[in-house]
């Protein structure tokens, strides 16, 4: 067992964990933040995507101990307040960017990350390339891509792209 501490959604957390505990297990089972999903267990589907020190990563493909000292943002920490959605969340709702919703947390975390990296300058082709790490088995991606395109535009207009992963 190792004692770890990190910041998750702005709150300092610490716990004793087995060294082999995956970051996604720590987030879901120790912290009770079940918005981050476990999809494929083989590092391909991206449902477990979170932001680690501002960059999108698969929380099923790193150990919790490897995130010692890191700042983590999960889907629960993306919205600015309890009654205001993040622009990417709002766009997914507006454009119906989901059906069953299982991949949605990972999609939204990846979307926020790519909007930050591209400073909101995203076209459809780039969005599809940048979504390579996220699988959806319902929508055929069309509405997801539309939602990300719309969110990028909204955020670029309001100058929010620099804080997309805050």
């Amino acid at each position: 067992m190792t004692q770890i501490s990190m910041t998750v959604n702005g709150k300092a957390v610490s716990a004793d964990v087995e060294d082999r505990t995956l970051l996604v297990s720590f987030i879901r089972e120790h912290l009770g933040l079940t918005g981050t999903h476990v999809g494929c267990e083989t590092s391909q589907c991206g449902a477990c995507t979170v932001h680690v020190d501002g960059q999108a990563m698969k929380s099923c493909s790193m150990l919790a101990v490897m995130a010692q000292g890191a700042e983590i943002t999960t889907i629960e920490g993306l919205a600015p307040s309890a009654d205001t959605l993040h622009p990417v969340q709002e766009a997914f709702r507006e454009h119906h960017g989901l059906q069953c919703g299982f991949c949605t947390p990972g999609m939204i975390m990846s979307a926020a990350d790519m909007i930050r990296r591209y400073e909101g300058k995203l076209d459809e082709k780039t969005i599809r390339e940048q979504l390579e790490g996220n699988l959806c088995r319902c929508t055929g991606y069309h509405n997801i891509v539309k939602a990300i395109e719309a969110a990028a535009e909204t955020m670029a207009q309001s100058g929010e792209t620099q804080t997309a992963s805050a």
Binding site: D19, R20, G46, M114
Partner: protein, 265 residues
């Protein structure tokens, strides 16, 4: 995943020391191959020595006409690096085609090169550009480094610290990605080095991992033109065969991707 103990180190000597005290240790950097392999119980080291935060191993610099990439530099950092984009754009472009954005944020060049997956992208660049793999104890030329699939010249406890790429006159990488995994079905880097030598390195296809296609090198040395490759092919018997493609398919793809790389120079 089987039980494992983990230690993060912040210097190269400490990494080698921690490794020497382990039972069945492994170095880990980004872990984008190792963690999934451990989850599948295909690997079960008893100790992990995390070298991903060793500051000396992170970053890209130049020394004359050589660009040096620290082993723990992530693919995303190589892809975005201004110096690499200016000096060897083919390598930064290649880095941007590895896996997916999340993998690129975490996976490292040293980890990829040390693992020597037969379908990984970096080995093609390291071999085509005649790079040198630097370790905690010596320098190893690319031609001596890649031994067989998942096998390198590294000793058990030897740690890759950097990859030194001589800046070529020009180079290009053409990749046919597996549509599901994004690993290279075939990836070919064609390079004209500073001294005029032509090198062609192929990943994804060879049954012994990355290899140089010397017949193509000779043909292109005569004339750097896609037509110089007409009539040349690799032996399908030396190719990987799996559910994604037969040996014949991969051999054919090598000719196609080599042409595309030449056209992209």
């Amino acid at each position: 995943m089987y039980d494992v103990s983990y230690a993060r180190v912040n210097a190269v000597p400490a990494a080698v020391d921690a490794f020497s005290k382990g039972d069945d240790p492994k170095y880990i950097a980004g872990g984008q191959t190792l963690i999934p392999t451990m989850k599948a119980r295909l690997a079960a080291p008893s100790e992990l020595v995390d070298v991903s935060r060793i500051e000396d191993l992170i970053g890209i610099c130049e020394d004359g006409d050589v660009v040096i990439v620290g082993a723990s530099t992530t693919h995303a950092a190589v892809n975005a690096d201004a110096l690499m984009n200016q000096r060897i754009p083919s390598v930064s472009a290649l880095a941007g085609q590895i896996g997916d954005p999340m993998v690129r944020h975490r996976g490292t060049m040293g980890g990829s090169v040390a693992n020597n997956d037969p379908s990984a992208d970096y080995p093609a660049a390291v071999l085509a550009l005649g790079a040198t793999v630097r370790t905690d104890r010596r320098d190893i030329l690319a031609d001596d480094f890649f031994v067989d699939m998942f096998e390198t010249a590294l000793e058990e406890d030897e740690l890759v610290t950097a990859i030194a790429f001589p800046v070529p006159k020009r180079a290009a990488y053409a990749k046919f990605p597996n549509p599901a995994s994004r690993y290279a079905m075939v990836g070919v880097m064609v390079a004209e080095l500073a001294d005029g030598a032509i090198r062609v390195a192929v990943t994804g296809a060879g049954s012994s991992g990355v290899f140089r296609w010397t017949a193509a090198e000779k043909a292109l040395a005569g004339s750097m033109d896609a037509q110089a490759l007409d009539g040349l092919s690799v032996d399908a018997d030396d190719m990987l065969e799996d559910l994604h493609g037969s040996g014949e398919y991969r051999a054919h793809l090598i000719s196609v991707m080599t042409r595309r790389a030449v056209l992209a120079l």
